[in-house]
């Protein structure tokens, strides 16, 4: 580990102010000091542990699915287990990794520091949200072990109210997870409104905060509807009320409307925080202020708003009129406009910047490629004539994995590397980091690109067997999945090794101007040695080092 390359800018590290209190990791000792902590940073670390565990579980389930699809007929598991496995994979990844991932870990840790606050507005509520998360996760996984579910993560009625599997505990588990999300969102919104430190106006906030703010608004407005609809499914399943059951006059399509009213905005709950990480990474590693700060901030809010008006594009083949489908299709393409504004702004930021190819930056470049690719196919499937052909095929699977894995997971990993020195005070091995980032990209492309071709050729999603002529593409995809899993494992090992043996990082190993880097790493319990006043923006790279430091006091 001695050959870890020294980051380009280390001048800040040498003049690190002497912390007046111990860092948050050493402020208290013992298991109880963690389990009862009200420090947002410690709660973030507890979320980190729980969510990485979920990611590993979800990844193992994905590998089982891919291994099963290696041959056209049975490979390792039977059809019933296969149905449970893809449900388990979807439910775990969506509710235990993608939705809480970036906000609960990096948002929890970084947002108060970026606002110059000493903690979130409601620390006890924050701790409660972690316990709710753990309870919800246990119910969900317990239900999965006890009876499983074979409905897919979408729980479509009438099947979900008739299946003998454990839909009820899983529905209740997801309801509790939703409650956990809502409490976190209340905390973020209140903190952003009321705990910005002196000198920090709305339009001096780092863009990661804007992304989390937009995300929180979506969580607050969409999650309750999902909570309601899953409780209704649980009621239908356990008490047979028949709210969505045609036998009693219920309408199954109504379920789809309510479900997607949440679950489409939920896609933006997953991707907006990822875009926040991207904004931070680009500016730091090209040492440039964003090409347009306002464009990114307003586009975040625009996506949050328009995301509520697009749910119908999941239902083009569910008996929707052509006129309605057309309107939903056009509204969906607005998301493409806002996303394109962001993409052009990020590339504009790179222009004439002094770019450094560090691990987070490699994740950014692969993110940019995958997100644009996923986004473009998204525009294509928002067109009803094309969607009718691709609906429920592997084309859709490939599309949303390009956004969810290529977008959210890649940014998550970028953030994990970018903020690692801040969170743990140590540097990871840069060479291994670069290798793992490249591996993740190659593995990903190899896994999901063949799935576009499979879907276009007509292979339906969620099927256990397929015609033999699809096998070579499936083999490619499974090979990619193994490579991806290997690269993820390498990432995990690299970061775990760095946790113990990594070189000490200074306060600001990347030479970033963003506020969280202006305090020691790891930060003291109250984030800054003294409550700071910010008299410059988070991306003021045109100031000299000295000026930039002086304006944070």
């Amino acid at each position: 580990m001695t050959d870890a390359p020294t980051p380009a800018v280390t001048s800040d590290a040498g003049e690190e102010p002497i912390p007046v209190e111990p860092d948050y990791l050493h402020a208290e000792r013992g298991v109880l000091s963690w389990l009862l902590t009200k420090d947002h940073k410690r709660i973030a670390i507890m979320y980190y542990a729980a969510i990485v565990l979920s990611l590993i579980l979800g990844g193992i389930f994905a590998l089982v699915i891919r291994l099963e699809l290696l041959t056209p007929e049975r490979t390792i598991i039977d059809a019933t287990t296969y149905n449970r496995m893809f449900t388990l994979h979807g439910v775990t990844m969506v509710w235990l990794f993608l939705l809480p991932g970036i906000p609960s870990i990096f948002g929890n840790f970084i947002l108060p520091i970026q606002l110059g606050a000493r903690d979130l507005a409601f620390p006890r509520l924050n701790l409660m949200s972690w316990y709710l998360f753990v309870i919800g996760a246990c119910l969900l996984l317990g239900g999965m072990i006890a009876g499983g579910a074979d409905t897919g993560w979408t729980f479509y009625v009438p099947y979900s109210s008739l299946t003998p599997t454990a839909v009820t505990p899983i529905g209740i588990g997801i309801f509790i997870l939703g409650f956990s999300s809502i409490t976190t969102a209340v905390n973020f919104v209140a903190t952003t409104h009321l705990l910005r430190t002196r000198g920090l106006g709305w339009f001096q906030m780092p863009l990661f905060v804007w992304a989390l703010y937009a995300t929180s608004l979506i969580i607050l407005l969409a999650t309750p509807v999902l909570g309601l609809v899953l409780i209704l499914v649980a009621v239908d399943h356990s008490l047979h009320f028949g709210i969505f059951d045609p036998k009693y006059g219920g309408d199954p399509v109504l379920f789809q409307h309510l479900f997607w009213f949440y679950s489409h905005p939920a896609v933006y709950i997953m991707i907006l925080p990822a875009m926040g990480i991207i904004s931070e990474t680009v500016s730091t590693f090209s040492r440039r202020r964003p090409f347009s700060y306002n464009a990114i901030a307003y586009a975040s809010l625009g996506i949050a708003f328009i995301g509520f008006l697009t749910w119908g594009h999941h239902m083009f083949v569910a008996g929707m009129s052509e006129w309605t489908a057309g309107v939903f299709g056009i509204l969906s393409m607005f998301v493409g406009i806002f996303s394109a504004i962001k993409v052009f702004t990020w590339t504009g930021t790179l222009h004439r910047g002094s770019i450094r190819f560090t691990t987070p930056m490699v994740f950014f470049f692969s993110w940019l490629f995958l997100f644009v690719f996923g986004g473009m196919t998204g525009i294509a499937i928002a067109t009803q004539s094309l969607d009718v052909h691709w609906h429920d095929t592997y084309f859709i699977v490939a599309h949303f994995h390009y956004i969810m894995v290529g977008g959210a997971l890649t940014a998550f990993l970028g953030g994990a590397h970018y903020w690692f020195p801040k969170m743990f005070g140590r540097l990871y091995n840069e060479r291994v980091g670069l290798a793992s980032a490249t591996g993740v990209f190659l593995g990903f492309v190899l896994t999901f690109t063949p799935q576009f071709l499979l879907g276009n050729a007509g292979m339906p999603r969620r099927y256990y067997s397929y015609p033999p002529e699809f096998q070579w593409l499936n083999v490619l995809s499974t090979g990619g999945a193994v490579l991806l899993a290997g690269a993820l494992l390498l990432t995990l090992i690299n970061l775990l090794v760095a946790l113990k043996w990594g070189e000490r990082a200074g306060a600001n190993p990347w030479g970033s101007r963003s506020y969280e880097w202006q305090t020691p790493s790891p930060p003291p319990t109250h984030n800054f040695p003294t409550s700071p006043t910010f008299s410059r923006g988070p991306y003021d790279y045109d100031l000299t080092e000295e000026e930039a430091r002086e304006r944070i006091a």
Partner: protein, 227 residues
Amino acid sequence: MSASPDTPEVVDPAAASPVAPGLGDQYDTYARQHRARLFGMWVFLVSELLIFAGLFSLYAAYRAEYGADFAAGIEHNNATYGTINTLVLITSSFTVAAAVHAVRGGRTRTAARLLYVTIAIGAVFLVIKGLEYSTHLHEGFAPGPYYSNTELPQFGARMFFTLYYIATGLHGLHVVVGLGLLAFVAWKAHRLRYDEYHHVGVEMAGLYWHLVDVIWIFLWPVLYLMG
């Protein structure tokens, strides 16, 4: 730059109050802490409203499908019960508002009494609701497959009563939670743990109770009057 942020120049009367609770590390003043809590409550209430918004859209969609059957179901609902309960809840909203007013003026004992009155009125609401449920069940208006009334059209009226139980049940759950919150702050007021500077708990419980009331005011017409 020289003035330390931790020593405000003006003495904060809220900090000098004998009932002052702990000031969170992240706040500079009590005023800000109170504001944050109230703000957080408002944000949470918006989220709560969306649960009911989902339910109202469900109602609207089914009503569009089974208009006449829904009207027949509503005709069968006892508007007297519904209307009395509306008056009961509005009265309790008035008393809780009076309690907030009293505690803002430093009259904590009065506030405690008013909060107890509010809890009693809230309990009356639940009793009336219970009477109504038992009448319905007696006539065979039960949700879903347990529905056994034969007078009314089958599909739509059954769906109306299923939604009726879900909507009033979810609202009833909010009434129970609200009563719990009110009981907590009433007990604290009773022990004089509030004064004119520190009473954000009473304000928050009051806000929640108003939400319960407002939701009912919308449930009342769609379940009892729009026949």
